[in-house]
């Protein structure tokens, strides 16, 4: 395209006389728009599948507005109360008026919510909702006590303290075995019901052991893969990938066959005389089972990144080091290993992050003491329907992973990481 001659000192013009700058901007804008159009579907996908759910996860984990919506008078009366004396008529009146005015559906949802703070609220709300129409006027206290004597139990009243604010950290507290008392002071939950801290710790421990186990097993395999002649290494690669492609359930069930009390491993050990028939090793439906099966399942996630990094290390480096007088072991440790760190980092991070949220395997082989936090999240989503608590635990998990990523970035540097 011929360009018009530029006037000396004036702006450059295109053939149709518009300044070159404007024309360029216009065409750039168009291509930007086009690019945006191209990434629009994945952007929409990200928005729908990640941003919105994570946003709702965060809101659900702190939202406690239902009690304020349904029981405004009751909570106001609760504030005036000294939290220790017997509740008086005005408090009963507030409850009666609130419940009378409330939507029936809201009331039963609230009953479920209140039951998290004190077991028994659910049926108390239900019985009271049904009996409200039999109460024909003040005094309300004796009438409600007549409906159910639990209204006289001060512990029910005190538990209102944990629900009085529309935004709560209660679910997060619960996720670490703490709770609010009537004055909204933080206290430990009853010792029989402390499970979450133990589960967090166990989840961390299992993920740690699995990551280290995978690293120990994967490193030699990856090295072999990277150094064998192509024909052999391809064969080995298929052996690595085969289990990766096999259904998760098939792999888990095969491990059950291998490791259970009367499984292949125990049977062989007994027939070899290593074990006494009465002392078979418990390797399934417990902590050990979870660790063994998860290690095998996550192994490819470790092998592949390490392999891909090893593949790029020229064999001449090792030869050079040995020429310069290093023993093979020294050359390996000082020259080869440091170069594989990006792969190790990627593999460890990948395995640890996948392991920490693992759910199906521990559910099937975890049994007595091999279940992880993911199983409890699923339980609260599916069965107890305590989505607030499930969201809080999910958020903690998310933050833990982001923190880990950040620490990794500070220590090793994410730019250094190679996935392949």
């Amino acid at each position: 395209m011929p360009t018009s001659p530029a006037k000396p000192g004036g702006p450059l013009l295109t053939a149709d006389g518009t300044p070159l700058k404007t024309s360029l901007e216009r065409s750039l804008k168009l291509s930007k728009l086009r690019a945006l159009g191209l990434i629009f579907p994945p952007l929409l996908f990200l928005l729908i599948l990640f941003v919105i759910p994570i946003g709702s996860l965060l809101t659900r984990s702190i939202d406690d507005s239902l009690s304020n919506k349904v029981l405004p008078k009751t909570l106001a009366a609760f504030e005036r109360w000294d939290k220790t004396s017997e509740p008086d008529e005005s408090m009963f009146e507030a409850v009666y008026l609130d419940m009378k005015a409330a939507d029936k559906l809201d009331l039963s949802k609230l009953g479920t919510r209140m039951n998290y703070e004190k077991s028994g609220w659910r049926s108390l709300i239900k019985i009271t909702t049904r009996g409200l129409k039999r109460i024909d006027g003040p005094p309300y206290k004796p009438a409600m006590l007549h409906l159910n004597k639990r209204w006289g139990d001060i512990e029910f009243w005190q538990s209102l303290g944990a629900m009085k604010d529309p935004v709560t950290l209660g679910y997060y507290l619960k996720a670490v075995d703490l709770k609010y008392d009537g004055n909204k002071d933080i206290m430990k939950v009853n010792k029989h019901n402390r499970i979450y801290r133990m589960l967090w710790w166990r989840t961390f421990l299992v993920s740690m052991i699995v990551t280290i186990g995978c690293l120990i097993l994967a490193y030699p395999v990856a090295h072999l893969l990277a150094t064998l002649p192509l024909r052999l290494s391809n064969l080995l690669m298929i052996c690595v990938l085969m289990p990766f492609w096999t259904s998760l359930l098939v792999r888990i069930v095969s491990w059950m066959v291998m490791l259970q009390q009367n499984g292949v491993v125990n049977d062989s050990l007994v027939s070899l005389g290593v074990l006494d028939d009465g002392n078979r090793l418990p390797m399934m439906y417990n902590f050990t089972g979870t660790v063994i099966v998860m290690t095998q399942i996550l192994l490819p996630f470790m092998i592949l990144p390490i392999y891909s990094v090893m593949k790029t290390i020229p064999p001449s480096y090792m030869k050079a080091a040995q020429n310069l007088g290093a023993t093979p072991a020294r050359a390996f440790i000082r020259v080869y290993m440091p170069q594989t760190i990006p792969g190790i980092g990627a593999g460890c991070l990948l395995v640890f992050i996948v392991a920490i949220g693992y759910y199906i395997t521990p559910e099937l082989v975890g049994g007595k003491d091999g279940r992880l936090i993911g199983n409890l999240i699923a339980h609260h989503m599916q069965n107890s329907l305590n989505w607030g608590l499930a969201s809080a635990m999910g958020t903690i998990l998310l933050v833990a992973i982001l923190t880990l990523y950040w620490v990794y970035d500070k220590l090793v540097g994410v730019d250094n990481m190679k996935m392949g």
């Binding site: 191209l38 009953g111 499970i195 439906y285 007595k368 279940r371 599916q382 069965n383």
Partner: protein
Amino acid sequence: MRNYLITTLVSTVVAVGMIGAARAEINVVTWGGAYAVSQQKAYGDTWKGEKINWINYNGGLGEIRTQVESGAVTWDVVDVLPAQARTGCDEGLFEPLDRSMFVPAPDGTPMDEDTMNKVPNNCVAPNIFWSYLAFYEEGTFKGEQPSTIADFFDVEKFPGKRGIHAWPNALIEMALLADGVPIDRIYEVMRTGTGIDRAFAKLDQIKDHAVFWSAGSKPIELVKSGETSMALAYNGRVGAAILNEGEKLVPIWDGQVLEEEWWVVVKGSPNAEAAKKFLVHASAPQQQATQAKWINYGPMRKSALTLIEANEPWHNSGVNIMPYMPNREEVLARSIFADPAWWADYGGEISERYTSWMSQ
């Protein structure tokens, strides 16, 4: 570029349209295995209306709540456990069902009076009773054979491990019964704090011998492989092993815990009318009885049991099914009807305590 955008747009619109369009089919969501097969034969094959898609799920209300809250309801009929039947109705997740549409018993008794348990609300239609049942394999014990739930908890008299499930339902009741609490006072004792301590103290006696299961097929494997000498299982699994596989398993009916199973229609179901008609069909005495031809879960309706009794041998293999029914008259005196109201109140707390107990 433009073509690409248009194609994307058009296919999105078409896809959304397809989801939104009313289906002339009913999606019935239930549990898997032999149980689902028995339902397909008894309710599906005898149904003349819309096509039925049978879908499996693993229980819980999570999925239903998601569908109702997002307004994209794809499930029409769901087979639910007693706790979910109550919570779901309370939370407005199910359609109320007009009680007058259901088929009365042959003698004219309305359906809600024909059920063995009180109908908890007007969202549910009767389905079956199932139970948590102790059992062992013939030949496991020499001499005296275990016959009561107390024997199940007695590892000295009957050595070997015990297969128990990884959640507390039914175990609390069984532990108290084994500990000598009269059967009609169990929930009264459970409402006291010390009652629960007592149940856990009893559970402590088998803790070191316990193998925990969570998949329904597991307890049969545990007992058959000899890993445990006794186990608790869903009664239908024990029955299927005996009736269909010819296994020599012995049920201990004493102290079994009976649980309800209900049908519901999901709120906002696009085929609510067809779904309701299907439930009228499935809950009729004839269909209820037919199901027992295929699996030994007990129909909830008394008239269905009468029908089976009068027509034995009822099971498809040509044997009498009544001796395997969890809700037959002879075993009721020593059976516990699980109280969903108690579990709705205390289930959460007890689950936590059980999880903590299990892993210590």
